[in-house]
Amino acid sequence: MSWIDIGHIEDIPLRGARIIKTPVGCVAIFRTDEAEVFAASDTCPHKGGPLSDGIVHGKSVTCPLHNWVFSLETGEAQGADEGQIATYPVRLENQRILIDGDAVGKRTAA
């Protein structure tokens, strides 16, 4: 793994999200608690809704377009809907958010 610093935890509103642009497309970084973040694809498998604009609750997000709910831990659609979004390793260190560069297709400079 190669951890890349993408920002400070306070850059993301509590129970909100921001996107980052990566070689694998837009990845949404969700902040579910004071010190709890998840990274997942920003694109809803239903009709492409921007998940970073959805309502974040518990450890899930609801797509803003037609209310599909996704677990941010597994990326799986909840309830009756079927679908899956990619999730990416992300962690916090001293309030900085680090994402795994390999997983989002970014080769880090040596």
Binding site: G16, R18, E34, E36, V37, P50, D53, I55, T62, V104
Partner: protein
């Protein structure tokens, strides 16, 4: 031969180490003990009970003069060690040297003082030792004294509660969103804050300190916050954290990182020098609670005696030593992925419990109100017990006998007898319960005897719950529609409870009404956010994260993820300048579609999210503000040309429309609100299918409400016919306010009026003049907060609309 041992610091950790050493081998060492404080070892933890007046200093001394004498310890108290000569193996105290064979560092930590302007004024203190405690206790002797505590962690709160117990007026200023954020989650933080408020302690969260102000004598006078607020105080206690006290170790070139580096045997980079307590760093960890320090003390004693021992850092648990604030926290409950929560709330008893599971193991626990099972959970965390078999009932603790579950009626059962249940008729809980006990065993009978739920009906659910709670199994509850899976309560119940129990925050709702999830879901959270801001406009702060995408971004999202931008055109009027600004913005931001809407204004469709702040800024420059085409709030006020131009016009319908739009804009409502104002009964503004429609006639204004022209089409019903424009405005405002205060979230006006009946609405806003006035006043109070252009505010923070990072760009190097 007896060796010489010198110990620097008579603290909690070194004291324990000496006890183990003397127990195991009383004569192995000849000990000299230095302490900067002018006294021997006392139980530092117990300073808080001393401060609160529950204990005296004498009761918390752990080692008295006799103990030191019995064990042959040479005490050099009140003397600071200023240097160590490692080559000659001597310790240099303020009063002279002492040689050593082995040396133990137990210098503890220093309280961190934020270097705010004024931090060196007199009356600005930390909370660490007996002197600090005495300063705080002395403050209580002067009646009317005020203190401010910076820091809402363990220490700060114990200092605050202790001073409050001494009669001091205390305010706690905390930078984070909730108290003790390192040990507690938001729910427990909410309960803690509530208990402290009940003790008269004021708590300000998310409060940033700017500077400490002093008087002429150089004594603290007040704390000033970022927003300019001044909090007057006679004493300011800073309790924002500690830093390992490593000055001496650094000066003599021992290996030091954040703390003095020690190995598993507690030996520093010098084989003859050991260290323990808050001054050390072990495997990257530093320490702030005593439990691990006691384990270190055992290892130090063994190492000094040449025996094998290894220090292992275990999980710690926290309790707060404030009477009446019963909390427990252990393990890891915040960060990380692949975890699951189990939540239990009992609002009636003020109890909250949350377990955090990873796989089949408990990794964290937070509890408030009932912490009896804390130790049991803590053991499971430490032992990493597989809890798969008891998962279902785990949260109920070891005493669980099967079957019990949270009582859904607890919320209503907890209300006091004088709590008002039916607001329309002023009926309180006691009256209803008495009626039920007197034989009124169904809803109809309760209505007939008490009038409760006989008017607007929003309290029906509560009355039914009272029936169920009072009659037990004899009452079969009609299935009321609950908001969503997070609660058993209906929208109407929740609205009523928010008012009667004065719930003013989301955490208050989750806890007091027994929510089953951590922070609701996309169905209930926007509704709760609306109810709170409608009922407590001044106290509650709107939460953008509880709003649907359009309201959060102040623009309508399109199917391709772009947004539409619709500026307001008051009453449908515009000017060449405004039109030019719209045209310029459309060109500058490559807007693909410009469309005249059905609401008499212009829609710019297809704007990229990151361009929103820019286009808003440009439109703002021309005086254009948000049209709220996206909100559950006031949308358009459609007008016709009226008597200024039209040969049939009877009144100034355009002017009235502009006045109403300027009055009502920015307000949030249960669903959208649209108005139409026509200048005569020909009704060119289609007023009679709006939420509120006004048709001007020769003799005045016909104000009608509850129309629809969307999924349902329905003509409005006449609310009132009034003679003057002022009255028309007042009736309209009062109607919108009563709708704001009572309707279920996402009920359009016509749906709500159908539920409560137009007669009741007329009685409230037309017949009862005093009530009409009160409704208008409450609307104005709310508008003092919300009658603002959200675009202007958001245009200031363009960064929020841009990506957090861009990893597609290659590094410049």
């Amino acid at each position: 031969m007896t060796q010489k041992l010198v110990v620097i610091g008579a603290g909690m950790a070194s004291g324990r180490a000496l006890e183990h050493l003397f127990d195991a081998s009383p004569d192995a060492y000849d000990v000299t003990l230095f302490n900067a404080e002018p006294r021997g070892n006392y139980n530092r933890l117990m300073l808080s009970p001393v401060l609160a007046g529950d204990k005296t200093y004498e009761e918390i001394v752990t080692h008295d003069d006799a103990w030191y004498a019995d064990n042959g310890v040479t005490c050099r108290f009140g003397e600071k060690v200023i240097n160590i000569d490692r080559a000659r193996k001597v310790v240099i105290g303020e009063n002279g040297e002492v040689p050593y064979d082995k040396l133990v560092l137990g210098t503890g930590s220093n309280p961190f003082m934020i270097p705010l302007p004024g931090h060196d004024l007199k009356g600005v203190i930390p909370y660490r030792d007996l002197e600090d405690t005495e300063t705080m206790m002395n403050l209580g002797k002067t009646p009317g004294s005020k203190a401010v505590v910076i820091g809402g962690g363990l220490l700060g709160l114990e200092a605050a509660a202790g001073m409050a117990a001494q009669g001091v007026d205390v305010t706690v200023v905390h930078i984070m969103g909730h108290l003790m954020e390192r040990q507690l989650d938001e729910a427990a933080g909410y309960l803690l804050r509530k208990s402290l408020s009940e003790k008269g302690i004021k708590v300000l969260c998310k409060a940033n300190s700017k500077q400490i102000l002093g008087d002429e004598a150089g004594h603290v006078r007040a704390l000033q916050l970022d927003d300019g607020t001044e909090l007057p105080c006679d004493l300011l206690v800073m309790a924002v954290g500690i830093r390992p006290n490593t000055a001496l170790a650094k000066a003599v070139d021992l290996e030091v990182n954040r703390g003095v580096i020690v190995n598993d045997q507690m030996v520093t980079s010098d084989p003859d020098i050991l260290a323990l307590g808050e001054c050390v760093e072990h495997n990257g960890a530093i320490f702030g609670l005593v439990a691990p320090l006691y384990d270190q003390a055992k290892v130090v004693a063994k190492t000094l005696l040449g025996q094998d021992a290894t220090f292992v850092n275990k999980e710690v648990s926290t309790k707060l030593k404030v009477t009446g604030c019963d909390l427990f926290s252990a393990g890891d409950f915040a960060d990380g992925d692949d975890r699951e929560d189990i939540v239990f709330r009992d609002p009636a008893r003020g109890v909250y419990k949350r377990l955090i599971l990873k796989g089949n193991r408990i990794i964290g626990a937070v509890m408030y109100g009932d912490t009896g099972d804390g130790a049991w959970f803590y053991n499971h965390i430490k032992d990493a017990t597989d809890v798969a078999d008891m998962r279902e009932t785990l949260i109920f603790g070891p005493a669980f006998q099967g079957g019990a579950s949270a009582d859904p009626l607890a919320a209503v059962a907890a209300l006091p007898d004088d709590a008002e249940i039916c607001g329309c008729n002023g009926v309180c809980k006691g009256t209803i319960v008495t009626a039920i006990q007197g034989g009124a065993t169904d809803l109809g009978a309760v209505r007939a005897t008490t009038k409760a739920s006989n008017s607007c009906g929003t309290c029906t659910g509560l009355v039914e719950q009272l029936l169920a709670a009072t009659l037990g199994d004899d009452f079969v509850m009609p299935t009321a529609q609950c908001i969503c899976g997070c609660t058993d309560l209906s929208h109407e119940d929740v609205r009523r409870l928010i008012k009667s129990q004065e719930l003013k925050s989301q955490e208050a709702v989750w806890q007091e009404l027994g929510w089953k999830t951590r922070n609701g879901c996309h169905v209930c959270r926007p509704a709760i956010n609306y109810y709170l801001l409608a009922d407590w406009p001044l106290e509650y702060q709107d939460d953008p994260q509880s709003r649907f995408v359009n309201e959060r971004n102040h623009a309508n999202i399109q199917k391709d993820g772009t947004f539409s931008v619709v500026p307001r055109m008051w009453g449908g009027l515009t000017t060449p300048d405004e039109l030019r600004a719209i045209a310029d913005a459309a060109e500058k931001y490559n807007v693909p579609t410009v469309k005249v809407t059905g609401g008499q204004r212009i829609d710019l469709l297809g704007v990229k999210k990151e361009d929103l702040p820019g286009i808003w800024y440009d439109l703002n420059q021309a005086g254009l503000v948000s049209g709220h085409a996206y909100s559950k709030g006031l949308r358009t006020v459609k007008t016709c040309v009226g008597k200024d131009h039209c040969r049939f016009g009877t009144q100034d319908s355009t002017g009235l429309g502009v006045k109403l739009e300027k009055l009502l804009w920015g307000s949030w409502t249960p669903h959208k609100v649209k108005l139409g104002i026509s200048g005569c009964p020909r009704n060119c503004a289609e007023a009679t299918c709006k939420d509120v429609g006004i048709v001007c006639v020769d003799s005045g204004y016909e104000v009608s409400v509850a129309g629809a022209a969307g999924m349902d089409v329905k003509e409005t019903e006449l609310l009132a016919k009034v003679a003057t424009e002022a009255e028309a405005i007042e009736v309209t405002t009062a109607f919108i306010q009563i709708y704001r205060e009572n309707a279920k979230y996402l009920d359009r006006g016509y749906k709500w009026v159908a539920k409560v009946g137009l007669d009741w609405v007329k009685q409230q806003v037309v017949d009862d003049l005093e009530n009409r006035k009160a409704l208008v006043d409450r609307f104005e109070i709310s508008q003092s907060i919300y009658r603002k252009d959200p675009w202007a505010e958001h245009a200031k923070e363009p960064a929020k609309y841009a990506p957090l990072a861009n990893l597609t760009l290659e590094a410049a190097e």
